[in-house]
Symmetry: C2
């Protein structure tokens, strides 16, 4: 494994981890923009832009973009989160140059009015579809409730209203700032030739204009509000709990991952044994989300209406016992094994490696080997996790539930 890095004059950082024993290669643009960078007026613009990039450039129609990806046989896609928009592809090494050239071209899209109008309907349908998925809707609403006025509370897809009112002009303005070369990183992983990709990147990307692109960075303690929403078509109660966690820049992020695994991993966690295995809840998981300058623990529980109060009592009991007695050595060992195998297995594939490589750069401006992360996880002591519980008490949460109308 060899790490390579280059910065163009306009601020675009190109990084790569060469692994000559890999059989494939992956490339991705990591754009440091997401829903938290949007004003309320243009909420949803980042995700909308992600769609628009596939609509083509001055030279290529959407049809031709599709065909061009097709020819390379690439596995490609894109995603938008609260704070990043990522475009990536995994290919056979001999097609890496072709697919990289294509992504570079797409990073300067035409953003045509006609395409914008058509795509607006696609986005509206997507919003409606996700509104119908209670497991997604509950998370979206809970994030808003928890982060309140903090921009991390913005919905990723945007709302009916903000998307309805969004103009192509506003989108182009947002694009110019946020897709500036100094606000993104281009990453490569797997089997590729560094000098070759640098040659491919340099000339077209150097033409991109540097811009001022900033982000408000504030930590947030969470609103701790409680709210329940009734939806007549639901048969189950969906509960989302959020509490404050550490940021993506914090060394304690590894301890926070361990804590979330101990409390709410799919199987074998406290939630699993006390809620799922006892058939009180159908699902009960907790995840830790490390973000730019802030972070959150987020739990999702689905259960029958009859079980709601028992479930919440049990959850409270779990958090109280953690505050009182902390986690056990056995729990630490199991959680470490789970996180380590997931990490190693994910990073074994150039595509998985690309994501960690890119995010480590975006958040830390740091190259971290897999071995660095393995050591950091192994080094977490039981006291690190227990002092995290003390400091960030996960029992002190914002709560949003969606469920059927309550019979009185």
């Amino acid at each position: 494994m060899e790490f390579k890095k280059k910065k163009l004059a306009n601020g675009l950082v190109v990084i790569g981890e060469v692994n000559k024993s890999a059989k494939s290669a992956a490339v991705g643009f990591f754009v440091k923009t997401g829903s938290r960078d949007e004003s309320k007026q243009i909420n949803g613009a980042s995700h909308f832009l992600e769609h628009m990039l596939f609509k083509g450039t001055e030279r290529l129609s959407a049809f031709e973009v599709n065909e061009a990806f097709d020819r390379t046989g690439a596995e490609f896609n894109a995603f938008t989160s609260e704070e990043n928009t990522v475009f990536y592809a995994a290919v056979l090494p001999e097609y890496l140059v072709e697919v990289t050239e294509l992504w570079i071209e797409l990073m300067r899209p035409a953003l045509r009015d006609e395409d914008f109008d058509i795509e607006k309907n696609v986005i509206k349908e997507e919003i409606a579809m996700y509104k119908d998925l209670p497991s997604y809707d509950v998370l979206d609403r809970c994030r808003s409730l928890h982060f309140d006025s903090h921009p991390c509370g913005n919905s990723i897809l945007g709302g009916e209203e903000s998307i309805g009112n969004l103009t192509a002009e506003q989108m182009r303005g947002y694009f110019t700032n946020r897709y500036a070369p100094n606000n993104m990183a281009l990453a490569f992983a797997g089997n590729f030739d560094w000098e070759q990709v640098c040659t491919v990147v340099e000339s077209p990307c150097s033409k991109w204009q540097k811009q001022i692109a900033s982000r408000k960075l504030e930590d947030y303690r969470g609103s701790k509000k409680k709210k329940r929403v009734e939806k007549s078509n639901l048969a189950r109660e969906h509960i989302c709990l959020m509490s404050r966690g550490v940021s993506a820049q914090e060394p304690r992020r590894f301890a926070a991952s361990l804590l979330a695994t101990i409390i709410g991993d799919n199987v074998g966690s406290r939630f699993f044994w006390e809620l799922v295995d006892k058939a009180l809840a159908e699902t009960a998981t907790m995840q830790f989300g490390a973000m730019d300058g802030t972070g959150a623990f987020c739990s999702y529980i689905r259960c029958s209406s009859e079980n709601v109060s028992k479930v919440l009592d049990t959850v409270r009991g779990i958090f109280e016992s953690l505050s009182k007695s902390g986690v056990t050595k056995d729990e630490m060992k199991t959680a470490k094994n789970k996180i380590l195998s997931a990490l190693v297995i994910k990073n074994e594939l150039p595509m998985g490696r690309l994501v960690d490589l890119g995010f480590n750069w975006i958040y830390l401006e740091q190259y971290r080997t897999i071995a660095d992360d393995i050591s950091a996880i192994k080094a977490v002591a039981i006291d690190d996790v227990n002092s995290l519980i003390e400091k960030f008490n996960p029992g002190d949460f914002t709560q949003l539930s969606i469920g059927p109308a309550q019979s009185s």
Copy 2:
């Protein structure tokens, strides 16, 4: 990469491909049994058995099985198809021995009456749940219609009736024959020590008794029947088309995969451009399934009721044009790139490699390197695909649709 192989006196074959540069290791039992090996009376027994293996052994309770997997941090699971039941896990190399010992123990389950009775309800719920998924239900019904009296027409989950009537005694009888050491293979892939795993395997697995376990192998041309089922709760038409393909033992299986990709890949295929891109259908895909001694092409299309006749006309047009003019050079090139990158990316991970390694042994008693498969795909000529169309005319299909009641 180094291939290793060992056969125990009772017929159990142990194979492994050692890749010292891998960061993880994978292990899996490939049991040559599935719904096609069941009589109508015990239909669903293979899938039921897959569940029962996690219920524990004479020594371990279900709780302890769960905990034991948990400790290793393994990513593990199992699946049942028409002809195989596979149990697998991916772990950090240092936990491979522990997780292998666990799988070996589970391969001789207690199959307790109490567990059987409880699990029967879980299976019944699973059957009901899948009945509610039209994309699954249509495939299940179409397979029955297409294979008619051929055992490949058996449902994998079994029916309400066969599962309802199944006794623990029947299951234990089925188990004894089908889980015989001479009817399975144990495979390892990734970073592991061959001598060490052989030591772990030899003593417990040698105690397993050889049995007579055979399978009826007949090719089948397909019934070519047409049928439509009405379901009042559906808003869309779900159409499944099946036609005869080549078997997993046939060298022409690579040409058959290319043909299915050209006709019905998710994007960029004939189905995509003529049905999905033109908004006639919401989804339209074709897959090729190579089976033991037989094979099938299977298409799935979802569209609105108004569009059904247009969709079927278009499908007929696509098949006619293929029969008349064959595929194009460009289509061959694109399809090869897609299949090659999917193959390479999948096999880069020990877990993905394990599956190909195991199935190549189960179907061919052959070790094939990734390079062997790459060469075989690259070597397919346009005439190979075109003669396949001529011989197996995909337009000559069995058709099953599920959709809403038709207004008269």
